[in-house]
């Protein structure tokens, strides 16, 4: 996978009218080589997946197992190319003058795989359905910027029409947001914003088992816990056309067994090398592997509601001390065999506008002496009892969590001389319950996988006052103001600059301590070529060809 920082897809057409260009992503030059090699376009690719956790409805799919299938069987107004740039799919144009009121025009003649037309109503109805509390869709918060969301998503509300969505004609509709948000068009490629055919609303549950979409593929078979079979959708006309004869997603319970299947050419594409093979996969697989960062990170959150860690001088000093006491590169090398990239900011390097030299980011660099000094300064304000425990919570049901949290804790012990202890939780649900009810008694592991390629997605939902995933209850008026300013900017480059200024505030307060960026380690069999991984660490399945 490669990624560029150069703005490729977001082009400004007209003075203030924002239009998303339809230029292809980083891999659009590949098919030519492929044909020269004699690639087999009818080959059915097998790939690993996990069983989707929910029925396949756009607004109810929030995890990778379902997400990767949804992104292939549906397509939205825009989609994301390999490098995270946005390209038009169904949208003819997305225009706004104030980043608050958007007019969206659809391309004509688009259909779902069953032949029914994709119209403005396909979008408006799907979004209203996803937002309404009575439908209990997991992704409902994605619609919170749209005017009228508060009414349809109130407890026990029976309303299901947001006032901000208006159909103009079959191929035009308007969106009014509650506040200006310049990165709204970027979100429209996320699963939650996919259109639905009329048939979906009659019996959403049944539809979720046999979805009818409009993407490059259609789902023909779903054998639960076994496999999901995707056929090429002939009616698809967008930029992500299939270059193979279909995809057979095999459900794996462990990546270890999937890895053995790749080694014996039984499985074609594996998107995650198991931890016990990280040291050897590059020699095992020859040139059939990839290791590159994607839009996700790992952090440690030390909530502001803890004594000694309140937002303010003492808490900030202690958080900075802890950040400087962690030798991230050492952990990456020893625990992950180089499979992560040291964090330089709160976002991820594959995003437009990413800057690794934001002022204040040196707080993420290891320096034991500086760490001790900062901790001592905090002690002058209020003494940290020498026998006090500092805990870092993690869930034991996630592979590799224990190893890295213990490594972090050991470094804190050695470099700060404090009694740091790893605090295991039996499951993700137990940890998240304590975290979301704000009853943690120490720091804890956190992380973020981007929903759509945007700096804001790493900042707003996590550190905005009262935001949904603001686990540490961070609140800064200055930061909130910068976020709003960035969202109101009509030029994305300008917006990114403001978001990076907002990060300067975060580096002082450290509402979360960034550790490293996630990287994808994947491999493939001898049967396929043209395997590339996207900005979100998911393989570009439609590009893969047989040999």
């Amino acid at each position: 996978m490669r990624y560029s920082h150069a703005s490729k897809a977001l082009a400004l057409s007209g003075a203030l009218a924002l239009t998303l260009s339809a230029c292809g992503g980083g891999s659009s030059d590949k098919p030519a080589d492929n044909n020269a090699e004699g690639g087999n376009a009818s080959y059915v690719v097998t790939a690993n997946t996990t069983e989707p956790q929910n029925g396949l409805l756009p607004a109810n799919t929030n995890e990778v197992g379902g997400g990767r299938v949804m992104d292939l069987i549906f397509t939205g107004l825009v989609s994301y190319a390999a490098d995270g740039t946005t390209q038009n799919e169904l949208a003819e144009s997305i225009e706004t003058k104030d980043s608050k009121n958007y007019t969206i025009k659809l391309k004509k003649g688009q259909t779902f795989s069953d032949g029914s037309p994709v119209t403005s109503a396909s979008f408006v109805d799907a979004w209203n359905f996803g937002a309404a509390a009575k439908n209990a869709q997991l992704n409902s918060y994605f619609f919170e910027s749209i005017k009228g969301f508060d009414e349809v998503n109130a407890a026990k509300s029976t309303k299901d029409k947001m006032s901000g969505l208006k159909i103009v004609d079959d191929t035009t509709f308007t969106v009014e947001l509650s506040n200006p948000e310049s990165d709204f068009p970027l979100r429209l490629g996320y699963t939650a914003f996919m259109p639905l055919p009329e048939a979906a609303f009659k019996d959403p549950k049944a539809f979720g088992q046999k979805p009818i979409g409009n993407g490059p593929y259609k789902l023909t078979e779903w054998n639960h816990d076994v496999n999901l079979k995707l056929d090429v959708n002939d009616k698809y006309q967008g930029p992500r056309a299939a270059k193979n004869g279909g995809i057979d997603f095999k459900v794996y319970q462990s990546t270890e067994s999937a890895y053995n299947d790749v080694m014996s050419d039984t499985l074609d594409v594996l998107d995650q090398i198991p931890p016990n093979q990280l040291a050897s996969y590059q020699t095992d697989l020859g040139d059939r592997w990839v290791n590159s960062p994607y839009a996700g990170n790992a952090t440690i959150t030390i909530p502001g509601y803890l004594d000694h860690f309140k937002q303010g001088e003492e808490g900030n000093l202690r958080r900075a001390a802890i950040s400087r006491a962690i030798d991230r590169q050492l952990i990456i090398d020893k625990v992950y065999q180089g499979g992560k990239v040291k964090a330089e900011d709160f976002t991820a390097p594959v995003l437009e506008g990413y800057n690794k030299d934001i002022p204040g980011s040196d707080v993420l660099d290891f320096n034991a002496d500086e760490a001790k000094k900062l901790w001592a300064q905090a002690d002058e304000i209020s003494k940290w009892a020498s026998d006090a425990e500092f805990t870092v919570g993690y869930n034991v049901d996630g592979a590799g969590n224990k190893e890295y949290v213990e490594a972090v804790v050991n470094q804190l012990k050695n470099n700060l001389g404090i009694n740091a202890v790893a605090q295991p939780f039996s499951s993700f649900k137990e940890l998240r319950n304590k975290v979301t009810s704000h009853k943690m008694t120490g720091g804890f592991r956190t992380g973020w996988q981007a929903d759509y390629p945007s700096l804001y997605n790493f900042l707003g939902p996590l550190f905005g006052t009262g935001a949904g995933s603001n686990d540490g209850l961070y609140s800064s008026k200055e930061f909130d103001a910068k976020l709003s300013e960035g969202l109101a900017a009509t030029d994305p480059t300008e917006g990114a600059k403001i978001f990076n200024q907002a990060q300067e505030i975060l580096f002082k307060d450290l509402p979360a301590i960034p550790l490293w960026y996630q990287a994808v380690q994947g491999g493939w069999s001898n049967n396929v070529s043209n395997v590339h991984f996207g900005w979100n660490g998911v393989p570009l399945y439609n590009e893969i060809t047989g040999k």
């Binding site: 956790q53 209990a136 409902s140 816990d225 496999n227 459900v251 993700f428 998240r432």
Partner: protein, 308 residues
């Protein structure tokens, strides 16, 4: 015999209710909020959370939840998983696979275990006996997942005699290797159990009498020694069937068998009570029935045992 059987089957009812109640309570009591896990660390509005909690009855007190579950059970409604599937469908897919795996493992255990055990017992102290003893000791000492990974790597990846994992259909043929791994430890126990038992019975008075009567060696072994040696073995095998079905999680994970072990494991992590209770409920029934069959086999093996 018939009334005995009926009585034993009637016992199923209190055992089943007791077991489901206990399991339901255990899942209920595990810390954490399943809905928080469903959101996967992403934000969720309070209204959505409330709606979901109500949808799965998680807002109700324990006795109401369990009562509702039992009520639905009477109409054969086992509830829904978080993924919106009927739990009965989940069971219907996973149990046949695991049953095939367990039966194959049991056959491997029974046939090879008794065969090797009898030979070893009859040739106590000889080369075959020593070899079997050492081999079975090694098998018992090595954890199942090590055996599984090694066999998978050697046979599946290096030699490529079979695919490293089973396909979705999980046919009998594909399940032989996983069943071997699953049954190997028990196989070692069955060998040792049979061997000890055979050695004990070999010197019994009735065996000496049988030999003295001039019966063939084969008849002495099969009818007089083996039949009397089988009681502890059958007891072990009967109890093992249940453990094989419920405890196949490691083997199922290694060979990617879409069976019960993994279904149960994931359901426990997610706090998906209906699935956990249903799986355990069926396992309880399997245990009880297997024990019933064992008890009946006793009567066949030893005429002195009679059920009135």
């Amino acid at each position: 015999m018939l009334s005995f059987t009926l009585k034993r089957i009637a016992q199923l009812i209190p055992v089943f209710i007791g077991a489901t109640l206990l399991v339901y309570f255990l899942v209920f009591a595990t810390p954490g909020d399943p809905i928080a896990a469903l959101s996967g660390g992403k934000p969720m509005s309070d209204a959505t959370r409330e709606a979901l909690t109500a949808q799965y009855n998680l807002d109700k007190p324990f006795w109401v939840q369990y009562g509702l579950y039992l009520k639905n059970l009477l109409t054969f409604d086992l509830g829904m998983s978080f993924s919106g599937q009927e739990v009965s469908d989940l069971l219907g897919r996973a149990f046949p696979v695991t049953a095939r795996l367990a039966v194959l493992a049991l056959l491997i255990e029974g046939i090879f275990g008794i065969l090797f055990g009898v030979i070893a017992g009859m040739r106590k102290g000889k080369l075959f006996d020593s070899t079997v003893l050492i081999a079975s000791l090694i098998v018992i000492a090595v954890p199942t997942f090590v055996l599984g990974f090694v066999l998978q790597f050697v046979i599946g990846v290096k030699l490529q005699w079979v695919k490293p994992t089973v396909s979705g259909a999980a046919t009998w043929g594909e399940l032989i290797l996983p069943a071997l791994v699953l049954g190997l430890v028990s196989l070692a126990y069955v060998i040792r159990l049979t061997r000890t038992s055979v050695i004990e019975n070999k010197t019994a008075d009735y065996v000496r009498t049988a030999t003295a009567k001039g019966l063939s060696r084969q008849r002495v072994i099969t009818v007089h020694i083996l039949r009397n040696s089988l009681i502890p073995v059958v007891t072990f095998l009967g109890a093992d069937l249940g453990s094989l079905m419920g405890g196949a999680i490691v083997t199922e994970g290694i060979f990617n068998v879409p069976g019960v072990g993994n279904l149960l494991y994931r359901a426990i992590l997610k706090g998906e009570t209906p699935t956990v209770v249903a799986v355990v409920g069926v396992l309880v029934i399997v245990f009880v029935l297997a024990n019933l069959i064992v008890d009946m086999l006793y009567a066949l093996l030893d005429p002195r045992i009679r059920y009135a």
